[in-house]
Symmetry: C2
Subunit: 197 residues, 2 copies
DNA sequence: GCTCTTCTGGACTGGCGGGTCCATTTTTTG
DNA sequence: CAAAAAATGGACCCGCCAGTCCAGAAGAGC
């Protein structure tokens, strides 16, 4: 299937609309009708661009959301770490800012097989970036070389996910912030005073 | 409505069956028919015990699951902390051991209004226990008095939730374990050698 | 212009699933 | 034992929603 400029726009509009819908009302409540209404499109169009139906759409949504996560690249200074922390919090905060991905992550194993993979990949990528950042600071001597970089990054990723989950349940970013702050603070060397910011 | 012994058993069977169903296939996939088939009961019975229908059943499931979370009371020694850690991991591990609650937590705001409260309460209780445990160890001097107990507990709770979320998505307990281990390790005093197990 | 492809709209369907209702059986109560 | 209350089974209804189909409009290519 060859997409014309117009076609690509429509397709894009559908994905974005579906993502908004998930954010607003949750995956479970997502119906194609709602997406159609919100995006001013028709059944025909939706199935034209997503022959696989709802599953394929959900997969596209997951990919779309995954693409706009705050990047954790180049965490080579403490300043970069704290900046990242702030970006993460800001990204998940905001009016009713619900995390579409975490939402998708809840059931996707069964709902949309492919979405699972997208999410797993996102987590792995994020974790790899964190690990790299930690290793970099170890190389420059700002983090204790003894520290298990991989494990620390793993814990941090868990903290973020949990923080977002709690945020979704309670609307408070307290858990997310605490997890990030304490996780990052834990990276600093234990027997020397903290430096940087 | 007065419950007879038999009635109570049936009701119980329905809740347990529904919980299993959620564990196996997820909330989204849960249908009353499935529950009926699994528990060998009829529509009439289900609506007899849960006049509120699916929502009320889901609420009961949430409460039921909430009741069997590993208790975090009396974390007054390091041994108790590590024992608790092991119980948490064990509880969430196991064949296809999916966390019904986290599953419910994903959308409950919209799906089952009451379930939200049950989950929030569970998290708050758990966090309170952790905070109390930390304060206790601070009183005995085993944890630095400077440490913010509440905030540390908050971060730990986030780590657990995230660990479970990742477990559900990937099937690995690595994140849960890392979050717990590093979270607990972070409690130990920074300028004195670690004690206890 | 003509033709072929892509795009769009919406009517229609089929089944699934939540919820209602009532008739029947079992248990409790007195 | 008789009457009332609770428990059970299952037929039935109805709305919703994913997915199908096709007819016609809009563009691309020549």
């Amino acid at each position: 299937m060859q997409l014309t400029r117009k076609g690509a726009e429509t397709r894009q509009r559908i994905v974005a609309g579906a993502a908004d819908e998930v954010r607003d009302r949750g995956v479970t409540a997502l119906t194609l009708q709602d997406v159609l209404a919100r995006t001013r499109t028709s059944k025909g169009q939706l199935f034209h661009y997503f022959p696989g139906g709802k599953d394929e759409l959900l997969l596209a949504v997951a990919q779309h959301e995954s693409d706009q996560q705050p990047s954790a690249e180049d965490l080579t200074t403490w300043a970069a770490w704290h900046d990242w922390r702030d970006r993460v919090v800001a990204h998940y905060r905001g009016t009713g800012e619900r995390c579409t991905l975490s939402d998708l992550a809840a059931q996707p194993a069964r709902t949309a097989p492919g979405a699972q993979a997208v999410i797993t990949r996102l987590l792995a990528t994020r974790q790899a970036h964190l690990t790299a950042g930690i290793r970099h600071l170890q190389a420059t001597g700002e983090i204790d070389a003894e520290l298990d970089a991989e494990r620390a990054a793993t814990a941090l990723v868990a903290g973020i996910q949990g923080g977002v989950a709690v945020l979704m349940a309670t609307g408070s970013t307290a858990h997310l912030e605490a997890a990030l702050d304490i996780g990052i603070a834990g990276l600093r060397p234990r027997f020397t005073p903290a430096r940087g910011r």
